[in-house]
Amino acid sequence: MCLFIDPDLCTACEACVESCPFGAITLVDDLAQADETCNLCGACEDVCPVQAITIEKKTGAPAADGYEGVWIFAEHRQGKLAQVAFELLGEGRRLADQLGVALGAVLFGHDVKEEADQLFAYGADTVYLADDPALAGFTDDMYGVLLAKMINEHQPEIVLCGATSIGRSFIPKVATILGTGLTADCTGLGIRSSDRLLLQTRPAFGGNIMATIVCPAGRPQMATVRTRVFRRGPYQEGRKGELVEIDVARKNIVSRTRLLEVVTDLSEKVNLAEADVLVAGGRGLGEEKNFDLLRELADLLNAGVGASRGAVDAGWISYAHQVGQTGKTVSPKLYIACGISGAVQHQVGMQSSDVIVAINKDPNAPIFDVANYGLVGDLFDIVPLMIKRIKTARS
């Protein structure tokens, strides 16, 4: 039991009852009491006017001693740096400058040395390069153990990585090896000036609430960061830094998994996380071949193609395109939902998009609740007209 309510101090004012995000506090015999659903978030502790509530948190000496610098993991796959690597350099630079420390970029791969110049140009002071055939493809054991060893050796205070399939897979392993905290899918980062702690903000409960999280006692402070949330910094031609080459073979890492084959989906842009614009289709498309209409619009807008669960379950498009609770979470600049009714399970996957366009026959479709532009009508009239107008405007 870590939440204490002092019966001598409690005045039954109910301030805590109202403050509890989980509705876990009730008054019993004129005393506040927390039930099983209490998640020890501390909201009540802050509002209690008589300081009757205390929560025991992990204390111990601040682990900051000796840890210095900001690191970003520059993901490299299939011959190129991931977009999020540049975004992390931009945000990492800002944080490092605020803390007055250096920005390091970690680069894993095979024959990737020349990419280091790009990392310097976008803001890295140091590039930690691990160039080895064993790192040509991604495996959790190789990437995870190697990064953990490097962090132990160089002791950065903050480590950021993209919340990509790769980052979300191996970074939890790294944090567990190191015995430190990790916050997933951050959409906001900051530094608390009083104690230099990294403030990590992320959506939870399908984006219905936001939470700000700190890691006071573990080092480094680690977070994965969503693609397309932060801006890449300016490109500075000829900017130089220090290149630290890691001797991977000498680390003696044995991988228990083996990458046999990488299959890229060449048919269409499937990397929904990196797309600025997404055109998504639902059951309203009626049949598989009608996705071609959306693909035509998507090609015009250099957009990715998304889908609702209904369209995926009908077998019209592969699961990799599914947006929503049981698919992917996306936040493009522009999301165009065509023939998607917009059940809440779909909304939680796309409601953080900058601008949402909804096209649907049913004026009562819930998708209109989150739309910035709602078009009530037949998508087979509207989409072709959009295509025509865009083509005309560009010619």
Binding site: P21, F22, S169, R258, F368, Y373
Partner: protein, 268 residues
């Protein structure tokens, strides 16, 4: 094959809303469900049992009422279940959760395969699976969308894992831990026999003392991360329906998108 599935009881996300005035979660009418991704983990385990024989067990860490989630998976055909429940486990972050699960799983014995859902829909972190694998010193493969083959003689298996740009084919030694995505299978329906068993099954509950955990490593005390603030996301400027005939609507839309700078089309 002896398979263990980790499940989590979660609030049905679609019902959750934050009251913008009071910043509190509105809880009326919020049902508890088994995390949807975990159901695909259960199905994967059951399919492997159908093919290879063996047992399927399921565990969860949670408050006493989480036993309902365990009963539900029994109705689908899970053989045995266990609940790790103690007031001391409350407020655990992903590190403390993975630690506690690892202690509990070690108590239960050895498994050929541990399967988790890719993430829980309340926290959406996807961190407990890989963290648990590391705590148990097992290899793991995340976001698995297909099991290609299993070779029990050489103790290996090959799977396809979903990536951002396609998929990877990966081989792992066994025992291993997988996290699965929805694409991997379709759920069966609970059998009558399963439902009967679910009603009657005796669910063992393991406390902090039973699991012999380090008290400083569980629950909020054992959590490296701390939530310091919870707030409502920026409300959307929403429900704007464009008026007019189709041509007029499209005109207004493209003009609006150009003005919003999300589309680079010049429309007169």
């Amino acid at each position: 094959m002896d398979i263990l599935v980790c499940i989590k009881q979660v609030p049905d996300t679609k019902d959750i809303k934050l009251d913008p005035e009071t910043n509190t979660l509105k809880r009326e009418g919020v049902e508890s469900i088994v995390n949807p991704f975990d159901m695909y983990a259960v199905e994967t385990a059951l399919m492997l049992k159908d093919e290879w024989g063996g047992t399927v067990r399921a565990v969860t860490m949670g408050p006493p009422q989480a036993e309902q989630a365990l009963r539900e998976v029994v109705s689908y055909g899970v053989d045995e279940v266990a609940l790790f429940s103690d007031r001391a486990f409350a407020g655990a972050d992903t590190w403390a959760t993975a630690y506690t699960l690892a202690k509990g799983i070690r108590k239960l014995g050895d498994f050929d395969l541990i399967i988790c859902g890719k993430q829980a829909v309340d926290g959406d972190t996807a961190q407990v699976g890989p963290g648990l694998a590391q705590q148990l010193d097992l290899p793991f493969i995340t976001f698995v969308r297909r099991i290609v083959k299993i070779e029990l003689d050489s103790r290996t298996m090959v799977v396809e894992r979903l990536m951002d740009d396609g998929y990877d084919v990966v081989e792992t030694s066994l025992p291993a831990l997988l996290t699965v995505v929805k694409e991997i299978n379709e759920l069966r329906v609970p059998s009558l026999k399963g439902k009967m068993k679910a009603k009657k099954i005796d669910i063992p509950i393991y406390s902090a003392a039973d699991l012999e955990v380090d008290p400083d490593s569980v629950g909020l005390t054992g959590s490296y991360t701390q939530v310091i603030e919870v707030f409502a996301p920026k409300p959307r400027g929403n429900r704007i329906i464009l008026e007019g005939e189709t041509e007029e609507q499209v005109e207004k839309l493209l003009n609006g998108l150009t003005k919003d700078k999300v589309l680079s089309v010049k429309i007169d």
